[in-house]
């Protein structure tokens, strides 16, 4: 008998077989997979070092099948800078949440982008602190309820949510910056293209690259997974528009 079966879906080599600790409906797992697929597609797994943040994805190194460094809260871009400067032949990426990158690590990401470090940042924005149990993040939407803004985010007291991709796009240093989402299969396909492109820019030694990925947090948003994807689409996408902000070719 001829075996006509063929594999149409499998675990990327860049992912381990470990079961993730992420909550049901959380999109970290999808984003991990997209990064792993990009590393596989580009054939760079064996020369890649990831830098894990502090937050829900602090244990990312349990799920990626490549070398990893674990950074203090917010400092992943600084670690990535030090590593990449000594090993420009290696591929270095940071994987950071919005509390990590946009709040405590605001200075590190700003200056890493501005120096044009040849690294890739995967910025996962779910508008809340996940690991510590749902506190207000710099990206929390106006009126959004969290444990530290129980009446909803008050713009008079806390300002507006920080739009990181827009902010970093104002820098004169060439970069690739795109915001994507993973709340529908169509968005996942687009996100995969952006993540792959971000790594390509690094492999070519061209520029700093950052992909902001809008992500869900059903547990701390207090919603079901399907309510979460709808909430993301209806509330986050209007405030954090999905688009390409900058690429090195178009930088003035």
């Amino acid at each position: 008998m001829v075996d006509n079966s063929k594999t149409i879906f499998a675990r990327p080599e860049s992912m381990t077989e470990n079961v993730t600790h992420y909550c049901p409906g959380c999109t970290h797992g999808i984003i991990h997979r997209l990064v792993a697929e990009a590393l596989d597609d580009l054939g760079v797994r064996e020369r890649t070092v990831g830098v894990a943040p502090v937050g829900c994805s602090v244990l990312a190194y349990n799920y990626f099948n490549c070398d990893f460094l674990e950074a203090p809260h917010g400092r992943a871009p600084a670690l990535a800078t030090g590593f990449k400067r000594l090993r420009p032949d290696m591929i270095v990426f940071t994987y950071q949440g919005d509390g990590d990158l946009a709040s405590i690590g605001g200075n590190e990401i700003l200056h890493t982008a501005n120096r044009g470090e040849k690294i890739t940042t995967i910025f996962v924005n779910n508008a809340i602190y996940g690991m510590t149990g749902g506190q207000m993040a710099p990206t929390t939407l106006p009126g959004q309820v969290t444990t530290t803004c129980p009446s909803g985010r008050n713009l008079t007291d806390t300002g507006y949510p920080l739009r990181v991709s827009e902010l970093l796009s104002t820098l004169a240093t060439p970069a690739y910056i795109e915001r994507v989402s993973v709340h529908t299969p169509m968005h996942i396909i687009r996100a995969k293209k952006a993540i792959r492109r971000a790594f390509e820019y690094q492999i070519e030694g061209r520029c700093f690259s950052l992909v902001e990925v809008l992500s869900t947090c059903p547990t701390n948003w207090g919603m079901t997974p399907s309510e979460s994807t709808k909430w993301l689409n209806d509330n986050m996408v209007p405030f954090f528009p999905l688009r390409l902000f900058k690429e090195p070719e178009t930088t003035a």
């Binding site: 797994r45 064996e46 600084a78 030090g82």
Partner: protein, 371 residues
Amino acid sequence: MAKILMKGNEAIAEAAIKAGCRAYFCYPITPQTEVAEYLAKRMPEVDGVFLQGESEIGVGNMLFGAAATGQRAFSTSSSPGISLMQESISYMAGAQLPVVLVNIMRGGPGLGGILPAQSDYFQSVKGGGHGDYKLLVLAPSTIQESVDLMMLAFHLADKYRNPVLIIGDGMIGQMMEPVEFPENYKEPPLPDKPWALTGASGRKPQIVKSLFLDPLMLEKNSQILNEKYEQMKKDEIRFELYKVNPKNEILITSYGTMARICQTAIDDLEERGISVGLFRPVTLFPFPEQQLFKEATRKNIRAVLTIEMSMAQMHEDVQRVIMGKTPTEFFGRTGGVVPSPEEVIDQIVGLLDKYSGKKNTKRSSSKSKKA
């Protein structure tokens, strides 16, 4: 190699190059900025990495990333900057990364001042950052010793997979003295670095981390660190004795350039028939506990006098070690004020009055009266 006249900060920079270090991260702060200025020119000549970071927080973490490659890397700063690096230092100690740090100390607390001080002793030897960890701490007293200890520091960092800190007061950074760099510098064999992140090619992925959510694993990590510190206590204690002999009435303990000022005072007193010895710790951690106890508790020693450019920090270790077996006294100036030899002499004379029960004013110097 012939001796050359160099400023301390520049000598420290060149010593790192001579020790094979090709990566330096910095943020400007007085009084150590000349290290950065020197290496901005020198690192490119040896195809090394020079990078000015956005803050000492950034710099400490760049060093963290650089050290994970397994290559030698270092940074220098001064007191307030070293405070900002404590986060990364704690992480690097926890993750067992070998790096070298230099603190050219200025007066504190807060923004303090920019003149020489030794007021970061506690921060250096008692932790500095959070968690159960120690740095191996070296304290040079001359520019030549700064060069020698700087080169040794890279070796010790690799030997123990632990951050090594050199602390010098502002004078160490700013003073010029003749120095000699070793020719054909060779180090004893060092262990391999299988922990370095080089890419998971032909091996399983490696992780450099300090997170251990399982309390038994975290305890184990602390035990592994502690075993290294115990080994340092056995093998790495360094100190120097100056004019220590059975005629000594007083034993001074002092480190860094303060110890050199004490030597001048000791020479002066000797001419007047007052015998004083000096015990100078070179490693502040590990502290030369048994050696100091032995010298401090000899029958001829009436009192031990700790002299520092701080408000009695190392003095707490001196008291801890001597355990009341010999009277301990302290003299210090701080805030950037450097005690003069005459002030030291006056302290000694005063102590002899106190502990011999008779006036020693005849033996005090005319110089000291002027001062």
